[in-house]
């Protein structure tokens, strides 16, 4: 028999409730898959930036960016628990399944936000910390609370929050932004609509059932597919940009051009898909390729950077 203060145990139903949530459930609130992409792109931004950062502070920067991204994921799950419960893709998340209470997720998200921003500011620089705070605010408030349920442009504008990590990594080293870091931002920003609308096309009914105004539900399949091609072309144009600004070599430029051509080809395949297609194979292929494409572009930037460094070293030793 255990004595417990009643205010700690009162559940939503007014009865007694003790949480059965484990550490793993809280970890799930951080959206680890999204976090892994955030970490990867932030690392690339940090390593490509001109100048140097103490390796330990570099690791702390990435940790803070990862935790900040996780915090915004937790705040997103807190606010979206009602629609997550209805959609098949999100119904098994910790809040809809009752493993974690909404107020626990809110407290968790807010605490992690404050800690990640404060530690980044104290350890690295306050410009990067302010940018991280803005990123969390943009995802949790601007995208989740405002845009997501009110406009079909939700993921176009909201996509900015997912595009900030390389700029954050860059800011940790330089304490500012530059044309190159804006280019890294634009690659993800312009890639997001084509990537997300491919998913929205084959999950259209899910979004429709909860009243989220995704582009295919509001503007129709034809218009969405046309816009996907436009965004794929814009992404391709920006993806080869690092070669023209001198951030990457011609080898990267060629590699990015080939990958981008395939990205455009995939978007055209989606555009040619008949409206009302049940299987949506082209859209599923586009979604899968878009993930690979972004990963490959950023990997190529990193590989190109290290190759240039090695050539410089070899040239200097001759």
């Amino acid at each position: 028999m255990t004595v417990i203060n009643s205010h700690e145990t009162t559940g939503v139903d007014g009865g007694f409730h003790l949480s059965e949530a484990g550490a793993r459930d809280f970890f799930e609130l951080l959206k680890p898959r999204v976090m892994s992409l955030v970490v990867f792109t932030a690392v690339v931004g940090l390593l490509l930036a001109p100048g140097q950062i103490n390796p330990v502070l570099g690791l702390i920067s990435i940790l803070c960016i990862a935790v900040g991204a996780g915090a915004s994921g937790a705040l997103n799950m807190w606010y979206d628990a009602d629609i997550d419960a209805v959609m098949s893709r999100t119904a098994k998340r910790p809040i809809p399944t009752g493993r974690i209470e909404p107020r626990e997720a809110l407290a968790f998200g807010l605490t992690l936000s404050v800690f990640s921003v404060t530690i980044l500011g104290l350890a690295v620089n306050w410009f990067a910390a302010s940018l991280l705070a803005f990123t969390i605010f943009f995802y949790a408030v601007v995208y989740t609370m405002w845009l997501k349920r009110s406009t079909p442009q939700n993921i176009v504008i909201g996509g900015a929050s997912g595009a900030f990590p390389p700029m954050l990594g860059w800011a940790c080293v330089t304490g500012g932004v530059s044309l190159d870091s804006i280019l890294l931002f634009l690659i993800i920003f312009l890639w997001t609509p084509a990537h997300f609308w491919a998913l929205a096309l084959f999950k259209m009914r899910d979004y429709g059932s909860v009243g989220i105004p995704m582009m295919p539900n509001v503007a129709g399949e034809r218009s969405t597919k046309g816009q996907m091609v436009v965004y794929a072309v814009l992404t391709a144009a920006v993806a080869v940009g690092p070669y023209f600004t001198g951030l990457a070599s011609a080898g990267y430029g060629l590699f990015a051009a080939v990958l981008s051509a395939i990205f455009i080809y995939c978007s055209i395949a989606v555009w040619r898909m008949p409206d009302g297609d049940e299987k949506m194979i082209a859209a599923k292929k586009m979604f899968a390729y878009s993930v690979f494409y972004l990963f490959a572009i950023f990997s190529a930037l990193l590989a190109d950077h290290f190759a240039a460094g090695m050539f410089a070293l070899a040239g200097g030793s001759l």
Binding site: F16, L18, S19, F26
Partner: protein, 46 residues
Amino acid sequence: MIETIKVTDKQKKSRRNRNIALGLVLAGLVLLFYIITLVKIGGLGS
């Protein structure tokens, strides 16, 4: 107001699991601040 309830084994296990995780996070934070202090005071951060 004091209430008495029975805590199930699953709830006990989850609580212990959360406590261990929180303890590890706190220890990690102590270590993190120690390292940041060393780097900053040692002038290695510049």
